[in-house]
Symmetry: C2
Subunit: 371 residues, 2 copies
């Protein structure tokens, strides 16, 4: 069933290096004991430079979407107005969560494949004067677009201390792309273990600004499991309020050691280099990128499937004959694009395999087309 | 840091057998692909006999407490009256979650260390005629007590089709103790991967009755991440709405193979036998059980710490000199009891080690007392 040679290139979960997988399989420990506290403390410290924050990130047991829900319910109250900036599936999801919990959601949408213009955010904030929080996707995994978070954050923060909070979904960016939470004035930043962190899914990581903690104190959306206050209080003792995904925390500990051994700037440079290589390779195969070239992502590339190529047959051929697993299109893009995840554990040899598999599967698809 | 000889006897996370740990470390797969679908389908099928249900249990990414929150928000609306039967920390927690989401909570408490009398539940249901749901802990991990779930369920269901829903926290019971969801008329049953299932923490498993699905359709508590409808819809395709803890699902797949190879009745018999052995051993050491002997649990044993023995020194000695890790008391029981978890991967030799470690640490404690 399991293909040991697979080149897993969905935009998460990402491949897990051997030593990280072995860490996930280490003997179980008491999550209230000193071994777990040491691992958790190392993870929290290791995350900070990648978030660009001095505050301790919180570890939550759940998917990235769980961490997004946690961000919403901890800083907002029912009836609060939020500006949800959405450029794809995950922006829509962030907005939907806020709406499900009773926020009044104003949606600012960009055409899929494009980034949001900072000016459009400024304009929307002028139209809606009571915005409590702006929801923004840093890197939109469904379209392969990276928003200019620093520029948008500057726009949001124009109002100074009374400015709206900025909640940034960094699920597929933090750990691979430069992220400067404190410098840019991000109030809540979210990521997940199964993306840039080369670890299995199961842990969401989230960091808060002082302003976010003040908002937490007043927020009245119902919460229990996701409560940040409980997580912070337990975090100071090196534990979590509820049983954490211990194996994933052990994996993160090992993965962060690898990342810091490589060096943060080297990790970012590798992602830039790999992103460039993949886009160049895709074009050399005669394929088209889905995203606006000016705002392409260095962690996810969305590629248009040529007309008359059957998407599901093409993806199946890639998987079965070429040991390459890529992501399909989401929502209305299903069947018209495929998505390559290139965050975390990826090097030139993986790109070589990726491109040669794509070349061969494309030839097959075109031969079948010709028949 | 890590002690490879440790006998981990907290009431979760429980020890993970080697082949299960190796399964957790298997190469990562696409959670939208056929390999994951096969694993998830096998897990769902393997869980059903242990839940005693024909319906497919849902897999949620989170701690047991997350699954408890999911149970509440999927079948209740703000203002609904619930009867929270609580005999310890986890009963209180179930009640607190319902309250946090706006239910009107009536608490029926038994003295800690005792079970709830079915008659007391009947009486409470007579006093409160508009109860929408009864919340009940099957096995209370904080006190080592098992409630008579079948008898209480019969009382709750006396009203027939209009009877309140029964939401059972089976986190530390299902998979180790007999549990007959369909026969007993349980409406929502919850458990977690890190308890009887010998797997790492990170996945909650939850099953619903038809009546619970009807309540789901009308329930208005806010929900997004925990939405059961999304989980069911994705479940029919062998996937989850949001990225699951893939490694934990792989672990569960392997653990369930071990459990079914042993046989469900043999698993239950082993837990009864181990429970008896531990209680007998504890008494032979001159120690007292915390729980009423009539309602002791076969998955968790709470033991009184003798007067004048320093609890934290005693637990530290157990851990550091004897490689035995047990749980401390929770809430007001901190310092006055310790708790032994004996669910999942436990055999006679573990009990022998447990008892000899306790004997030796007790001698040390008593010598120090004598000084």
């Amino acid at each position: 069933m399991q293909d040991p040679f697979v080149n897993l290139r969905v935009p998460g979960p990402t491949p897990v290096p051997d030593q990280v997988a072995r860490a996930a399989a280490r003997p179980m420990v008491n999550h209230r004991g000193p071994e777990f506290a040491a691992a958790m403390t190392e993870v929290v410290e290791g995350l900070k430079p990648f978030f660009g924050t001095r505050d301790d990130p919180l570890l939550l047991t759940g998917s990235g979407t769980g961490a997004m829900e946690a961000a919403i319910v901890n800083v907002l109250s029912p009836g609060d107005e939020v500006l949800a900036v959405t450029i794809g599936v995950f922006g829509d999801r962030f907005a939907d969560i806020a709406q499900a919990f009773g926020a009044t959601v104003h949606r600012l949408q960009a055409e899929w494949g494009k980034a949001i213009e900072p000016d459009a955010v400024a304009q929307a904030l002028k139209e809606h004067r009571n915005i409590k929080a702006v929801l923004l996707t840093h890197n939109e995994t469904s379209t392969g677009v990276t928003n200019d978070l620093a520029a948008i954050a500057a726009v949001v923060r124009t109002g100074g201390g009374d400015a709206p909070l900025l909640l940034a979904d960094g699920v597929s960016s933090i750990g691979a792309l430069p992220f400067e939470m404190d410098v840019w004035n991000i109030d809540v930043a979210i990521t997940g273990s199964q993306k840039s962190w080369m670890s299995p899914p199961g842990v969401g990581m989230i960091a808060l600004s002082e302003r976010a903690w003040k908002a937490y104190a007043e927020a009245r959306m119902p919460r229990f499991y996701w409560d940040f206050g409980k997580a912070r209080k337990n975090g100071t003792r090196g534990t979590t309020p509820f049983t954490p995904a211990v194996g994933v925390v052990h994996a993160l500990q090992e993965a962060l050691r690898l990342m810091h051994a490589e060096g943060q700037e080297a990790v970012f440079a590798r992602h830039r280099h790999i992103g460039v290589s993949i886009r160049k390779g895709i074009k050399s195969l005669g394929l088209e990128l889905f995203a606006d070239p000016a705002v392409v992502s260095n962690t996810v590339t969305a590629v248009r499937i040529p007309a008359r190529v059957d998407a599901s047959a093409f993806l199946r051929d890639l998987r079965q004959r070429h040991h390459l697993v890529v992501g399909s299109g989401q929502d209305w893009l299903k069947g018209s694009i495929f998505r390559i995840g290139h965050m975390g554990w990826i090097h030139d040899s993986d790109v070589d395999h990726l491109l040669s598999a794509l070349r061969s599967a494309l030839q097959t698809a075109r031969l079948e087309e010709a028949v």
